[in-house]
């Protein structure tokens, strides 16, 4: 099977790439949101919303997704060190956009010992905290298919996206001084191919397609898991960030935090909202009004000038004091 040339977004990661040239999409015409008032398309071409579905219950922790990610994005991370845990590297890095996080979970309800493996990486939020926090126009964009992408030529490496993200995903490169994260393989999706990680996954724990298809697939998987005794199985598509374009099927959807701290109700922090919301216009207005007020008073108020009498008084005072005969003067009230 190959992808039909008229499709705007790939429907699967497993299909072979198109056999004839496909005009790439995901350009400026598809930008629906852009950081710090960067340019957005006037009439953005609507693309079918895409999503990656990560079925945690099917993952075997082989890290083929990590290898595929390194290979496609050509990030060349350094060889790591073994400190006795399975995570490798030990955290997301500017060269590792996705990471298998391993948790050993002692289930108190069943007494079972469970090995939870979650593929961590950018969730491609519908309401991205990174994009909200970013001060550089056009450094973070969201396309009409839902992908959130960093445009490195506009990135200034300040790290505000790290503070904005509710999932702790972006990493700042100390070599290139730009923020890095999973692109959802926007450069593959743009030409009809699914993400590299999904293509490489041997158990189809990672699947890719339209958000609609992935939600339907997740429902099937959740039903199957429930029939196998996982009563709390469910789809992780958190509403606090408007839903995400990377979703998880979790066998314990009631306790997402057991999957190495997956947030239960992620949303953009109120501190970030206030900083990027009211603080900006109020701050600019306060400074502007103060400057205009000061300028107006400087122009229209005559100012506090020293008179000739003041100079004469000064001469008198200095002469008196120098002579050493200080005279208490009637307007000395309050002086020590």
């Amino acid at each position: 099977m190959t992808i039909a040339p008229n499709m705007d977004s790939p429907r699967t990661a497993t299909a072979n790439p198109p056999t004839h040239p496909v005009p790439p999409n995901l350009g400026q015409a598809h930008v629906v949101r852009s950081s710090a008032g960067g340019p957005v398309a006037e009439n953005p071409q609507p693309l079918t919303e895409v999503a990656k579905l990560i079925d945690v219950s099917k993952c075997i922790g082989c890290k083929a997704c990590q290898s595929a990610c390194i290979e496609w994005n050509d990030t060349q991370p350094e060889v790591g060190v073994n400190v006795g845990v399975y995570e490798n590297p030990h955290d997301l890095t500017p060269e590792m956009f996705t990471l298998m996080r391993f948790t050993e979970y002692d289930n108190p309800d069943t007494g079972d010992f469970e090995w939870l493996i979650r593929k961590d990486g950018c969730m491609h939020c519908a309401e991205p905290g990174c994009l909200k926090a970013c001060p550089a126009p056009g450094a973070i964009v969201q396309y009409s298919n839902g992908i959130v992408d960093f445009i490195h030529e506009n990135c200034i490496g300040c790290g505000y996206c790290v503070s904005g993200c509710p999932f702790n995903i972006p990493r700042i490169s100390q070599k290139t001084h730009v923020a890095q994260k999973c692109t959802l393989c926007s450069d593959r999706v743009a030409v009809g191919q699914g993400p590299a990680c999904a293509k490489a996954c041997p158990t189809h724990a990672i699947t890719f397609g339209t958000k609609e298809d992935m939600t339907a697939l997740a429902a099937e998987r959740v039903e199957d898991l429930k029939s196998r005794g996982y009563d709390n199985a469910g789809l992780y598509d958190p509403a606090g960030v408007g839903g995400t374009h990377v979703m998880y099927v979790l066998h314990h959807n009631d306790k997402p935090q057991i999957y190495d701290g997956l947030p239960e109700d992620p949303k953009i922090s109120d501190v970030v909202r206030n900083w990027k919301g009211p603080a900006k216009p109020v701050g600019i207005a306060a400074v502007g009004l103060a400057a205009i007020g000061a300028a107006a008073m400087a122009l229209f108020h005559r100012g506090n000038s020293v008179s000739q009498e003041d100079e004469a008084e000064a001469r008198e005072l200095v002469q008196e004091e120098l002579r050493g005969a200080p005279v208490e003067r009637p307007h000395d009230k309050g002086s020590a």
Partner: protein, 228 residues
């Protein structure tokens, strides 16, 4: 020897006809203007990151990346420079009882009836407000600034703490710019003030009108030696 309470050792009546008083030595003036240049660079580069409509200010410093790199270093330079100012000026900037009387009658200051107000030492309450406002806000900006200095301190604080730090940094920045505007305005509105930071001297009339206790003390200190 007259007790020195309202003046610096370097303050001096340098001329009698007409009276002219040295208020700041060259070192203090250079220190001040270096701090001022740092402040302006920080204000312009900081505004670029504060509001998208002002992002174009980054062009003054060679683009966003350079501005991001430059801002914290200039912040450190300003802190060091301001500390120099701080130790020179702090002891005459302690709030005194007459400052409260002066503040309660601020209307007389604005309407030019300073004769109704208590005599003041080297600084009035407005000047002291600028001094302490700068001090506390620079301290807040320094601490929060280091917390958000991602290039060198990426793991100094948690992400939650850094969010608060960035917020406090923005609010403090707005406040310090307001203090800065007050500082410039007051220096220009009170005619004859600016030369204290350029030439280093002020006229006797200016000193008599605004800082009479300071002038009186300088004259008393110079009683034993002629000032000419």
């Amino acid at each position: 020897m007259v007790e020195r309470k309202f003046s610096e050792p370097t303050d001096e009546i340098v001329q009698l006809e007409p009276v002219e008083v040295r208020r700041y030595i060259a070192f203090t003036r250079w220190n001040h203007w270096f701090t001022a240049i740092c402040f302006i660079v920080l204000m312009l580069s900081g505004f670029a990151f504060f509001h998208p409509s002002l992002y174009g200010l980054t062009a003054l410093f060679g683009g966003g990346q350079t501005t991001r790199w430059l801002h914290p270093f200039v912040g450190i330079a300003l802190t060091v420079s301001f500390l120099g100012m701080f130790f020179q000026l702090v002891h005459l900037n302690i709030i005194r009882r007459e400052d409260l009387v002066w503040t309660a009658n601020i209307k007389d200051v604005i309407t030019g009836h300073e004769e109704r107000l208590p005599e003041l030492g080297k600084y009035n309450f407005g000047q002291k407000t600028v001094f302490w406002g700068m001090f506390w806000l620079i301290l807040a900006l320094l601490i929060t600034g280091i917390m958000m200095w991602y290039q060198y301190f990426p793991h100094l604080v948690s992400i939650e703490t850094r969010r608060i730090a960035i917020f406090v940094h923005s609010v403090s920045a707005v406040l310090i710019v307001l203090v800065f505007i007050l500082h410039i305005f007051a220096a220009l509105w009170t005619r004859g003030t600016l030369r204290a930071m350029t030439r280093g001297t002020v006229t006797g009339g200016w000193s008599w009108r605004h800082h009479r206790k300071w002038l009186r003390e300088l004259a008393r200190r110079q009683r034993t030696k002629p000032a000419e």
